[in-house]
Protein backbone atom coordinates (compact mmCIF):
# COMPACT_ATOMS: atom_id res chain seq x y z
CA UNK A 1 0.00 0.00 0.00
CA UNK A 2 2.84 2.32 0.88
CA UNK A 3 4.43 1.47 -2.42
CA UNK A 4 1.18 2.27 -4.17
CA UNK A 5 1.01 5.67 -2.56
CA UNK A 6 4.66 6.38 -3.28
CA UNK A 7 4.35 5.44 -6.91
CA UNK A 8 1.42 7.78 -7.45
CA UNK A 9 3.40 11.04 -7.55
CA UNK A 10 6.09 9.30 -9.59
CA UNK A 11 3.53 8.15 -12.10
CA UNK A 12 2.03 11.59 -12.31
CA UNK A 13 5.41 13.18 -12.75
CA UNK A 14 6.28 10.73 -15.53
CA UNK A 15 2.96 11.74 -17.01
CA UNK A 16 3.97 15.40 -16.74
CA UNK A 17 7.18 14.72 -18.64
CA UNK A 18 5.26 12.80 -21.30
CA UNK A 19 2.77 15.62 -21.54
CA UNK A 20 5.47 18.25 -21.97
CA UNK A 21 7.22 16.35 -24.73
CA UNK A 22 3.93 15.50 -26.47
CA UNK A 23 2.23 18.87 -26.15
CA UNK A 24 4.09 20.34 -29.09
CA UNK A 25 3.04 17.37 -31.17
CA UNK A 26 -0.64 18.05 -30.57
CA UNK A 27 0.04 21.17 -32.62
CA UNK A 28 2.27 19.89 -35.39
CA UNK A 29 0.86 16.38 -35.59
CA UNK A 30 -2.60 16.99 -34.21
CA UNK A 31 -3.48 20.26 -35.88
CA UNK A 32 -1.46 19.94 -39.04
CA UNK A 33 -1.02 16.22 -39.53
CA UNK A 34 2.74 16.59 -39.83
CA UNK A 35 4.67 13.75 -38.25
CA UNK A 36 7.69 15.65 -37.15
CA UNK A 37 10.44 13.18 -36.31
CA UNK A 38 12.72 16.15 -35.66
CA UNK A 39 10.54 17.03 -32.68
CA UNK A 40 13.03 15.19 -30.49
CA UNK A 41 15.82 17.37 -31.85
CA UNK A 42 13.82 20.50 -31.05
CA UNK A 43 13.64 19.16 -27.50
CA UNK A 44 17.40 18.76 -27.66
CA UNK A 45 17.76 22.33 -28.93
CA UNK A 46 15.84 23.53 -25.88
CA UNK A 47 18.14 21.60 -23.58
CA UNK A 48 21.26 23.01 -25.24
CA UNK A 49 19.78 26.50 -25.00
CA UNK A 50 19.68 26.08 -21.24
CA UNK A 51 23.26 24.81 -21.37
CA UNK A 52 24.48 27.84 -23.30
CA UNK A 53 22.61 30.31 -21.12
CA UNK A 54 24.42 28.97 -18.05
CA UNK A 55 27.44 31.07 -18.91
CA UNK A 56 25.33 34.20 -18.69
CA UNK A 57 22.90 33.42 -15.95
CA UNK A 58 24.51 30.71 -13.86
CA UNK A 59 22.13 28.53 -11.95
CA UNK A 60 19.05 30.47 -12.97
CA UNK A 61 19.60 29.22 -16.53
CA UNK A 62 16.71 26.79 -16.31
CA UNK A 63 14.21 29.57 -15.65
CA UNK A 64 15.62 32.11 -18.08
CA UNK A 65 15.93 29.44 -20.73
CA UNK A 66 12.21 28.63 -20.80
CA UNK A 67 11.16 31.58 -22.99
CA UNK A 68 14.45 31.63 -24.89
CA UNK A 69 14.25 27.93 -25.70
CA UNK A 70 10.67 28.42 -26.81
CA UNK A 71 11.84 31.05 -29.26
CA UNK A 72 14.89 29.10 -30.43
CA UNK A 73 13.10 25.82 -31.03
CA UNK A 74 10.10 27.67 -32.42
CA UNK A 75 12.30 29.46 -34.90
CA UNK A 76 13.92 26.21 -35.95
CA UNK A 77 10.46 24.80 -36.47
CA UNK A 78 9.44 27.83 -38.46
CA UNK A 79 12.44 27.49 -40.73
CA UNK A 80 11.68 23.82 -41.22
CA UNK A 81 8.07 24.61 -42.05
CA UNK A 82 8.93 27.37 -44.51
CA UNK A 83 11.72 25.60 -46.32
CA UNK A 84 10.42 22.07 -46.51
CA UNK A 85 7.26 20.99 -44.78
CA UNK A 86 4.89 23.37 -46.49
CA UNK A 87 5.45 21.48 -49.70
CA UNK A 88 4.27 18.30 -48.02
CA UNK A 89 0.85 19.04 -46.62
CA UNK A 90 -1.52 16.18 -47.12
CA UNK A 91 1.39 13.73 -47.33
CA UNK A 92 1.93 12.92 -43.65
CA UNK A 93 4.02 9.84 -44.33
CA UNK A 94 6.41 11.81 -46.49
CA UNK A 95 6.86 14.42 -43.80
CA UNK A 96 7.75 11.62 -41.41
CA UNK A 97 10.64 10.55 -43.59
CA UNK A 98 11.69 14.06 -44.48
CA UNK A 99 11.84 15.16 -40.87
CA UNK A 100 13.73 12.01 -39.97
CA UNK A 101 16.42 13.16 -42.36
CA UNK A 102 16.34 16.55 -40.66
CA UNK A 103 16.68 14.92 -37.27
CA UNK A 104 19.80 13.03 -38.38
CA UNK A 105 21.39 16.23 -39.60
CA UNK A 106 20.50 18.10 -36.41
CA UNK A 107 21.94 15.33 -34.24
CA UNK A 108 25.22 15.40 -36.09
CA UNK A 109 25.22 19.18 -35.98
CA UNK A 110 24.83 19.08 -32.20
CA UNK A 111 27.68 16.60 -32.01
CA UNK A 112 29.93 18.90 -34.00
CA UNK A 113 28.90 22.05 -32.13
CA UNK A 114 28.82 20.77 -28.57
CA UNK A 115 30.82 17.56 -28.73
CA UNK A 116 29.59 14.01 -28.43
CA UNK A 117 29.73 13.69 -24.61
CA UNK A 118 26.86 14.87 -22.48
CA UNK A 119 27.04 18.36 -21.05
CA UNK A 120 25.84 19.49 -17.68
CA UNK A 121 23.09 21.96 -16.91
CA UNK A 122 23.12 22.88 -13.24
CA UNK A 123 19.78 22.98 -11.53
CA UNK A 124 18.98 25.98 -9.32
CA UNK A 125 19.79 25.30 -5.68
CA UNK A 126 16.17 25.77 -4.62
CA UNK A 127 15.19 22.80 -6.76
CA UNK A 128 17.30 20.46 -4.62
CA UNK A 129 15.47 18.28 -2.17
CA UNK A 130 11.81 17.43 -2.10
CA UNK A 131 8.71 16.41 -0.22
CA UNK A 132 8.68 12.71 0.61
CA UNK A 133 9.38 10.76 -2.57
CA UNK A 134 8.50 13.74 -4.73
CA UNK A 135 11.59 15.82 -5.53
CA UNK A 136 11.15 19.54 -6.12
CA UNK A 137 12.42 19.27 -9.67
CA UNK A 138 9.64 16.79 -10.45
CA UNK A 139 7.20 19.17 -8.84
CA UNK A 140 8.61 21.93 -10.99
CA UNK A 141 8.06 19.89 -14.14
CA UNK A 142 4.54 19.08 -13.00
CA UNK A 143 3.70 22.74 -12.43
CA UNK A 144 5.36 23.71 -15.69
CA UNK A 145 3.28 21.11 -17.54
CA UNK A 146 0.09 22.42 -15.93
CA UNK A 147 0.91 26.02 -16.77
CA UNK A 148 1.80 25.12 -20.33
CA UNK A 149 -1.43 23.22 -20.81
CA UNK A 150 -3.39 26.11 -19.36
CA UNK A 151 -1.58 28.53 -21.64
CA UNK A 152 -2.19 26.36 -24.69
CA UNK A 153 -5.85 25.96 -23.79
CA UNK A 154 -6.30 29.70 -23.32
CA UNK A 155 -4.51 30.39 -26.56
CA UNK A 156 -6.65 27.98 -28.55
CA UNK A 157 -9.97 28.98 -27.06
CA UNK A 158 -9.59 32.56 -25.89
CA UNK A 159 -7.67 34.26 -28.66
CA UNK A 160 -8.57 34.97 -32.26
CA UNK A 161 -5.34 33.39 -33.45
CA UNK A 162 -6.12 30.22 -31.59
CA UNK A 163 -9.63 30.02 -32.92
CA UNK A 164 -8.40 30.52 -36.43
CA UNK A 165 -5.94 27.72 -35.83
CA UNK A 166 -8.74 25.40 -34.80
CA UNK A 167 -10.81 26.49 -37.75
CA UNK A 168 -7.99 25.60 -40.15
CA UNK A 169 -7.56 22.25 -38.49
CA UNK A 170 -11.21 21.34 -38.74
CA UNK A 171 -11.74 22.45 -42.29
CA UNK A 172 -8.84 23.86 -44.16
CA UNK A 173 -10.75 24.63 -47.33
CA UNK A 174 -13.60 26.35 -45.58
CA UNK A 175 -11.22 28.33 -43.40
CA UNK A 176 -9.34 29.49 -46.48
CA UNK A 177 -12.47 30.73 -48.26
CA UNK A 178 -13.57 32.43 -45.05
CA UNK A 179 -10.60 34.70 -45.42
CA UNK A 180 -8.16 32.99 -43.04
CA UNK A 181 -4.58 33.06 -44.26
CA UNK A 182 -3.96 29.36 -43.79
CA UNK A 183 -0.28 29.64 -44.69
CA UNK A 184 0.26 32.09 -41.86
CA UNK A 185 -1.73 29.93 -39.46
CA UNK A 186 0.43 26.95 -40.41
CA UNK A 187 3.58 28.91 -39.66
CA UNK A 188 2.23 29.95 -36.31
CA UNK A 189 1.12 26.42 -35.48
CA UNK A 190 4.52 25.05 -36.29
CA UNK A 191 6.28 27.78 -34.39
CA UNK A 192 4.28 27.10 -31.25
CA UNK A 193 4.45 23.32 -31.56
CA UNK A 194 8.21 23.38 -31.98
CA UNK A 195 8.62 26.03 -29.32
CA UNK A 196 6.83 23.79 -26.83
CA UNK A 197 9.38 21.11 -27.60
CA UNK A 198 12.07 23.59 -26.63
CA UNK A 199 10.34 24.21 -23.30
CA UNK A 200 10.20 20.47 -22.70
CA UNK A 201 13.91 20.29 -23.45
CA UNK A 202 14.72 22.80 -20.74
CA UNK A 203 12.65 20.86 -18.23
CA UNK A 204 14.36 17.61 -19.16
CA UNK A 205 17.77 18.97 -18.23
CA UNK A 206 16.64 18.65 -14.62
CA UNK A 207 16.22 14.91 -14.75
CA UNK A 208 18.05 13.51 -17.75
CA UNK A 209 21.18 13.63 -19.87
CA UNK A 210 21.88 16.55 -22.19
CA UNK A 211 23.55 15.24 -25.31
CA UNK A 212 23.14 14.93 -29.07
CA UNK A 213 20.95 11.84 -28.82
CA UNK A 214 18.61 13.28 -26.20
CA UNK A 215 15.73 13.60 -28.64
CA UNK A 216 15.80 9.96 -29.67
CA UNK A 217 15.01 8.85 -26.12
CA UNK A 218 11.68 10.63 -26.06
CA UNK A 219 10.30 10.73 -29.58
CA UNK A 220 8.53 7.36 -29.67
CA UNK A 221 6.84 7.93 -26.30
CA UNK A 222 5.72 11.38 -27.36
CA UNK A 223 3.98 10.04 -30.44
CA UNK A 224 2.34 7.27 -28.48
CA UNK A 225 0.79 9.87 -26.18
CA UNK A 226 -0.73 11.73 -29.11
CA UNK A 227 -1.95 8.53 -30.75
CA UNK A 228 -3.57 7.31 -27.54
CA UNK A 229 -4.99 10.73 -26.77
CA UNK A 230 -6.57 11.36 -30.12
CA UNK A 231 -5.37 13.58 -32.90
CA UNK A 232 -5.27 17.23 -31.97
CA UNK A 233 -7.07 16.82 -28.70
CA UNK A 234 -5.55 18.74 -25.83
CA UNK A 235 -7.69 17.00 -23.25
CA UNK A 236 -6.84 13.67 -24.86
CA UNK A 237 -3.13 14.38 -24.60
CA UNK A 238 -3.45 15.29 -20.93
CA UNK A 239 -5.45 12.20 -20.05
CA UNK A 240 -3.26 9.90 -22.16
CA UNK A 241 -0.05 11.29 -20.70
CA UNK A 242 -1.30 10.88 -17.16
CA UNK A 243 -2.61 7.40 -17.90
CA UNK A 244 0.58 6.25 -19.58
CA UNK A 245 2.67 7.81 -16.82
CA UNK A 246 0.79 5.96 -14.12
CA UNK A 247 0.75 2.73 -16.09
CA UNK A 248 4.47 3.04 -16.65
CA UNK A 249 5.26 3.68 -13.02
CA UNK A 250 3.13 0.86 -11.63
CA UNK A 251 4.14 -1.60 -14.33
CA UNK A 252 7.77 -0.84 -13.62
CA UNK A 253 7.29 -1.07 -9.89
CA UNK A 254 5.75 -4.51 -10.05
CA UNK A 255 7.89 -5.86 -12.86
CA UNK A 256 10.92 -4.07 -14.29
CA UNK A 257 11.68 -1.21 -16.63
CA UNK A 258 12.08 -3.38 -19.73
CA UNK A 259 8.86 -5.24 -19.20
CA UNK A 260 7.04 -2.00 -18.36
CA UNK A 261 7.81 -0.63 -21.81
CA UNK A 262 6.48 -3.76 -23.45
CA UNK A 263 3.38 -3.67 -21.27
CA UNK A 264 2.71 -0.04 -22.17
CA UNK A 265 2.96 -0.88 -25.85
CA UNK A 266 0.62 -3.84 -25.50
CA UNK A 267 -1.91 -1.75 -23.61
CA UNK A 268 -1.86 0.91 -26.31
CA UNK A 269 -2.45 -1.63 -29.08
CA UNK A 270 -5.27 -3.17 -27.05
CA UNK A 271 -6.68 0.28 -26.36
CA UNK A 272 -6.69 1.15 -30.04
CA UNK A 273 -8.87 -1.90 -30.57
CA UNK A 274 -11.54 -0.23 -28.50
CA UNK A 275 -10.93 3.35 -29.57
CA UNK A 276 -9.03 3.32 -32.83
CA UNK A 277 -9.01 7.10 -33.09
CA UNK A 278 -7.70 7.64 -29.57
CA UNK A 279 -9.51 8.91 -26.51
CA UNK A 280 -11.07 12.00 -27.96
CA UNK A 281 -11.90 12.40 -31.60
CA UNK A 282 -13.29 15.18 -33.65
CA UNK A 283 -15.87 13.65 -35.91
CA UNK A 284 -15.95 14.39 -39.54
CA UNK A 285 -18.48 13.40 -42.18
CA UNK A 286 -16.14 13.41 -45.09
CA UNK A 287 -15.14 10.16 -46.73
CA UNK A 288 -11.39 9.77 -46.12
Amino acid sequence: MEAFVNQLPIGISIGAVLLLIALGLTFTFGQMGVINMAHGEFIMAGAYTAYLLQDLTGRMAVIVALPVAFAVAGLMGLILERTAIRHFYGRPLDTLLLTWGVSLVLQQLARDLFGAPNVQVQAPAWLQGGIGTLPYNRLFIFVLALLTVAGVWAYLNRTGQGRRMQAVMQNRGLAAVSGIDTGRVDQRTFFIGSGLAGVAGVALTLIGPVGPTLGTYYIVDAFLVVVAGGLGSLLGAVVAAAGLGLLNSYAEFWSDASLAKVIVFAVIVAFLQVRPQGLFVLRSRALS
Binding site: R283, R285, L287, S288
Partner: protein, 252 residues
Protein backbone atom coordinates in the same frame (compact mmCIF):
# COMPACT_ATOMS: atom_id res chain seq x y z
CA UNK B 1 -42.82 -11.20 -49.58
CA UNK B 2 -41.11 -8.55 -47.49
CA UNK B 3 -40.11 -5.19 -48.99
CA UNK B 4 -36.55 -4.98 -50.27
CA UNK B 5 -35.59 -2.12 -47.92
CA UNK B 6 -37.28 -1.47 -44.65
CA UNK B 7 -36.09 1.22 -42.26
CA UNK B 8 -37.56 1.18 -38.77
CA UNK B 9 -37.34 3.96 -36.19
CA UNK B 10 -33.89 4.97 -37.29
CA UNK B 11 -32.05 7.63 -35.24
CA UNK B 12 -28.53 8.91 -35.69
CA UNK B 13 -26.81 11.28 -33.28
CA UNK B 14 -23.64 13.27 -34.03
CA UNK B 15 -22.22 14.83 -30.88
CA UNK B 16 -25.67 15.55 -29.51
CA UNK B 17 -27.11 16.61 -32.86
CA UNK B 18 -29.92 14.34 -34.07
CA UNK B 19 -29.23 13.90 -37.76
CA UNK B 20 -31.99 11.31 -38.08
CA UNK B 21 -34.83 11.13 -35.64
CA UNK B 22 -37.06 8.08 -35.83
CA UNK B 23 -37.18 7.61 -39.60
CA UNK B 24 -39.39 4.88 -41.07
CA UNK B 25 -39.12 4.05 -44.73
CA UNK B 26 -40.26 1.17 -46.87
CA UNK B 27 -39.07 0.63 -50.42
CA UNK B 28 -40.53 -2.12 -52.55
CA UNK B 29 -38.70 -4.15 -55.13
CA UNK B 30 -38.42 -2.43 -58.50
CA UNK B 31 -39.11 1.04 -57.19
CA UNK B 32 -37.28 4.17 -58.31
CA UNK B 33 -37.48 6.12 -55.09
CA UNK B 34 -36.30 9.70 -54.68
CA UNK B 35 -35.21 11.19 -51.37
CA UNK B 36 -35.45 14.95 -51.19
CA UNK B 37 -35.26 17.59 -48.53
CA UNK B 38 -33.37 20.76 -47.68
CA UNK B 39 -29.75 20.71 -46.58
CA UNK B 40 -29.24 18.93 -43.30
CA UNK B 41 -32.46 17.00 -43.69
CA UNK B 42 -30.59 13.72 -43.24
CA UNK B 43 -30.77 12.32 -46.78
CA UNK B 44 -27.14 11.38 -47.08
CA UNK B 45 -27.05 10.20 -43.48
CA UNK B 46 -29.90 7.82 -44.27
CA UNK B 47 -27.93 6.34 -47.16
CA UNK B 48 -24.85 6.17 -44.95
CA UNK B 49 -26.73 4.11 -42.39
CA UNK B 50 -28.18 1.75 -44.96
CA UNK B 51 -24.72 1.11 -46.43
CA UNK B 52 -23.02 0.70 -43.07
CA UNK B 53 -20.91 3.86 -43.12
CA UNK B 54 -22.70 5.32 -40.11
CA UNK B 55 -23.90 3.42 -37.08
CA UNK B 56 -27.41 4.30 -35.89
CA UNK B 57 -28.13 5.20 -32.28
CA UNK B 58 -31.35 3.23 -32.48
CA UNK B 59 -33.58 1.55 -35.03
CA UNK B 60 -32.64 -0.84 -37.77
CA UNK B 61 -32.46 -1.40 -41.48
CA UNK B 62 -33.76 -4.59 -43.07
CA UNK B 63 -32.74 -5.86 -46.46
CA UNK B 64 -35.41 -8.27 -47.71
CA UNK B 65 -36.26 -8.96 -44.10
CA UNK B 66 -32.67 -9.42 -42.98
CA UNK B 67 -31.23 -6.95 -40.49
CA UNK B 68 -28.15 -5.06 -41.64
CA UNK B 69 -27.32 -3.86 -38.14
CA UNK B 70 -23.69 -4.38 -37.20
CA UNK B 71 -22.57 -5.45 -40.66
CA UNK B 72 -19.51 -3.80 -42.17
CA UNK B 73 -19.69 -1.83 -45.40
CA UNK B 74 -18.25 -4.53 -47.62
CA UNK B 75 -20.53 -7.16 -46.14
CA UNK B 76 -23.55 -5.04 -47.01
CA UNK B 77 -22.22 -4.62 -50.53
CA UNK B 78 -21.87 -8.37 -50.76
CA UNK B 79 -25.54 -8.71 -49.82
CA UNK B 80 -26.39 -6.65 -52.87
CA UNK B 81 -26.49 -3.01 -51.85
CA UNK B 82 -24.35 -0.60 -53.87
CA UNK B 83 -23.94 3.15 -53.74
CA UNK B 84 -22.31 6.22 -55.22
CA UNK B 85 -21.05 9.32 -53.47
CA UNK B 86 -21.80 13.03 -53.76
CA UNK B 87 -18.28 13.78 -54.75
CA UNK B 88 -17.42 10.93 -57.02
CA UNK B 89 -14.46 8.86 -55.87
CA UNK B 90 -12.72 6.82 -58.52
CA UNK B 91 -9.22 5.39 -58.48
CA UNK B 92 -7.19 7.87 -60.45
CA UNK B 93 -4.11 5.71 -60.96
CA UNK B 94 -6.13 2.83 -62.37
CA UNK B 95 -7.53 2.87 -65.88
CA UNK B 96 -11.24 3.21 -66.49
CA UNK B 97 -11.34 -0.45 -67.40
CA UNK B 98 -9.51 -1.46 -64.22
CA UNK B 99 -11.89 0.60 -62.13
CA UNK B 100 -14.87 -1.17 -63.62
CA UNK B 101 -13.16 -4.54 -63.49
CA UNK B 102 -12.45 -4.21 -59.77
CA UNK B 103 -16.08 -3.29 -59.16
CA UNK B 104 -17.20 -6.39 -61.01
CA UNK B 105 -14.69 -8.79 -59.49
CA UNK B 106 -15.59 -8.70 -55.81
CA UNK B 107 -17.51 -11.94 -55.90
CA UNK B 108 -14.52 -13.87 -57.19
CA UNK B 109 -12.54 -15.89 -54.66
CA UNK B 110 -9.63 -13.88 -53.32
CA UNK B 111 -7.03 -16.31 -54.63
CA UNK B 112 -8.20 -15.95 -58.21
CA UNK B 113 -7.47 -12.24 -57.96
CA UNK B 114 -3.78 -13.04 -57.84
CA UNK B 115 -3.95 -13.86 -61.51
CA UNK B 116 -3.48 -11.25 -64.16
CA UNK B 117 -6.68 -9.96 -65.76
CA UNK B 118 -7.14 -11.39 -69.22
CA UNK B 119 -9.69 -9.79 -71.54
CA UNK B 120 -12.81 -7.97 -70.54
CA UNK B 121 -15.70 -9.69 -68.82
CA UNK B 122 -19.20 -9.33 -70.13
CA UNK B 123 -20.35 -7.28 -67.19
CA UNK B 124 -17.50 -4.84 -67.60
CA UNK B 125 -18.01 -4.57 -71.34
CA UNK B 126 -21.64 -3.82 -70.71
CA UNK B 127 -20.80 -1.15 -68.16
CA UNK B 128 -18.32 0.42 -70.58
CA UNK B 129 -21.03 0.44 -73.22
CA UNK B 130 -23.72 1.87 -70.95
CA UNK B 131 -21.55 4.66 -69.63
CA UNK B 132 -20.12 5.56 -73.03
CA UNK B 133 -16.59 5.31 -71.71
CA UNK B 134 -15.47 2.51 -74.04
CA UNK B 135 -13.21 4.92 -75.93
CA UNK B 136 -11.41 5.84 -72.72
CA UNK B 137 -11.12 2.30 -71.34
CA UNK B 138 -7.33 2.31 -71.16
CA UNK B 139 -6.84 5.86 -69.90
CA UNK B 140 -6.18 6.40 -66.21
CA UNK B 141 -9.31 7.58 -64.44
CA UNK B 142 -7.38 10.62 -63.22
CA UNK B 143 -7.66 12.28 -66.64
CA UNK B 144 -11.47 12.07 -66.79
CA UNK B 145 -13.63 15.18 -66.68
CA UNK B 146 -16.08 15.74 -63.86
CA UNK B 147 -19.03 14.38 -65.79
CA UNK B 148 -17.07 11.37 -67.01
CA UNK B 149 -16.11 10.55 -63.47
CA UNK B 150 -19.73 10.54 -62.45
CA UNK B 151 -20.48 8.18 -65.28
CA UNK B 152 -17.60 5.98 -64.31
CA UNK B 153 -18.93 5.83 -60.80
CA UNK B 154 -22.37 4.88 -62.03
CA UNK B 155 -20.70 2.33 -64.28
CA UNK B 156 -18.86 0.85 -61.32
CA UNK B 157 -22.13 0.62 -59.46
CA UNK B 158 -23.73 -1.17 -62.39
CA UNK B 159 -20.76 -3.51 -62.71
CA UNK B 160 -21.34 -4.57 -59.13
CA UNK B 161 -24.79 -5.84 -60.20
CA UNK B 162 -26.44 -4.94 -56.89
CA UNK B 163 -30.05 -5.59 -55.91
CA UNK B 164 -30.40 -2.12 -54.49
CA UNK B 165 -28.65 0.96 -55.89
CA UNK B 166 -28.30 4.07 -53.80
CA UNK B 167 -27.20 7.17 -55.66
CA UNK B 168 -26.26 10.39 -53.95
CA UNK B 169 -26.93 13.34 -56.29
CA UNK B 170 -25.94 11.51 -59.44
CA UNK B 171 -26.75 14.32 -61.89
CA UNK B 172 -25.28 17.31 -60.05
CA UNK B 173 -23.14 19.22 -62.50
CA UNK B 174 -24.30 17.20 -65.51
CA UNK B 175 -25.50 18.73 -68.74
CA UNK B 176 -29.15 18.46 -69.77
CA UNK B 177 -28.41 15.69 -72.23
CA UNK B 178 -26.41 13.77 -69.67
CA UNK B 179 -29.23 14.09 -67.17
CA UNK B 180 -31.61 12.59 -69.63
CA UNK B 181 -29.31 9.69 -70.30
CA UNK B 182 -28.90 9.14 -66.57
CA UNK B 183 -32.64 9.29 -65.99
CA UNK B 184 -33.33 6.75 -68.70
CA UNK B 185 -30.59 4.53 -67.43
CA UNK B 186 -32.00 4.59 -63.90
CA UNK B 187 -35.48 3.88 -65.18
CA UNK B 188 -34.29 0.88 -67.12
CA UNK B 189 -32.20 -0.38 -64.19
CA UNK B 190 -35.22 -0.06 -61.91
CA UNK B 191 -37.11 -2.55 -64.02
CA UNK B 192 -35.45 -5.51 -62.36
CA UNK B 193 -33.70 -3.84 -59.42
CA UNK B 194 -34.41 -1.16 -56.84
CA UNK B 195 -33.03 2.36 -57.10
CA UNK B 196 -32.96 5.02 -54.40
CA UNK B 197 -31.78 8.47 -55.46
CA UNK B 198 -30.97 11.55 -53.43
CA UNK B 199 -31.57 14.49 -55.72
CA UNK B 200 -32.36 18.19 -55.67
CA UNK B 201 -33.07 18.65 -59.33
CA UNK B 202 -36.81 19.18 -59.51
CA UNK B 203 -37.17 18.67 -63.21
CA UNK B 204 -35.26 15.42 -63.05
CA UNK B 205 -37.45 14.39 -60.14
CA UNK B 206 -40.64 15.17 -61.99
CA UNK B 207 -39.62 13.21 -65.05
CA UNK B 208 -38.29 10.05 -63.50
CA UNK B 209 -39.48 9.59 -59.91
CA UNK B 210 -42.15 7.07 -59.15
CA UNK B 211 -42.17 7.64 -55.38
CA UNK B 212 -40.75 10.52 -53.39
CA UNK B 213 -39.86 10.72 -49.70
CA UNK B 214 -39.31 14.17 -48.21
CA UNK B 215 -37.00 14.42 -45.22
CA UNK B 216 -36.78 17.43 -42.99
CA UNK B 217 -34.65 17.85 -39.91
CA UNK B 218 -34.12 14.15 -39.59
CA UNK B 219 -37.76 13.13 -39.92
CA UNK B 220 -39.95 11.94 -42.76
CA UNK B 221 -42.10 14.92 -43.66
CA UNK B 222 -44.10 13.49 -46.50
CA UNK B 223 -44.21 10.54 -48.86
CA UNK B 224 -46.03 9.80 -52.08
CA UNK B 225 -46.01 10.54 -55.79
CA UNK B 226 -44.34 13.70 -57.10
CA UNK B 227 -47.69 15.46 -57.42
CA UNK B 228 -48.87 14.49 -53.96
CA UNK B 229 -45.65 15.68 -52.40
CA UNK B 230 -45.67 18.95 -54.32
CA UNK B 231 -49.17 19.64 -53.17
CA UNK B 232 -48.35 19.03 -49.52
CA UNK B 233 -48.47 22.38 -47.69
CA UNK B 234 -45.86 21.27 -45.14
CA UNK B 235 -43.41 20.54 -47.92
CA UNK B 236 -44.09 23.91 -49.49
CA UNK B 237 -43.53 25.61 -46.19
CA UNK B 238 -40.21 23.90 -45.63
CA UNK B 239 -38.93 24.89 -49.02
CA UNK B 240 -40.51 28.35 -49.15
CA UNK B 241 -38.96 29.11 -45.82
CA UNK B 242 -35.66 28.93 -47.60
CA UNK B 243 -36.39 29.97 -51.13
CA UNK B 244 -39.03 32.44 -52.21
CA UNK B 245 -40.04 31.63 -55.77
CA UNK B 246 -39.85 28.07 -56.95
CA UNK B 247 -40.74 25.32 -54.52
CA UNK B 248 -38.05 22.80 -55.19
CA UNK B 249 -35.34 23.92 -57.53
CA UNK B 250 -32.04 22.75 -58.74
CA UNK B 251 -28.90 23.21 -56.74
CA UNK B 252 -27.60 21.92 -53.48
Amino acid sequence: MSPIIEVRGLSVVFDGFRALDGVDLTVERGELRFLIGPNGAGKTTLIDVVTGLTRPASGEVLLAGRSLTGLREHQIVRLGVGRTFQTSVVFEELTVLENLDLAAAFRRPLLSLARRRRGVSETVAEALETTGLAGLADRPAGVLSHGQRQWLEIGMLLAQRPEVLLLDEPVAGMSRAERERTGELLTSVARDRTVIVVEHDMEFLRRYASQVTVLHEGRVLAEGSVEEVRGDPRVQEVYIGRRKDDAVSAGS
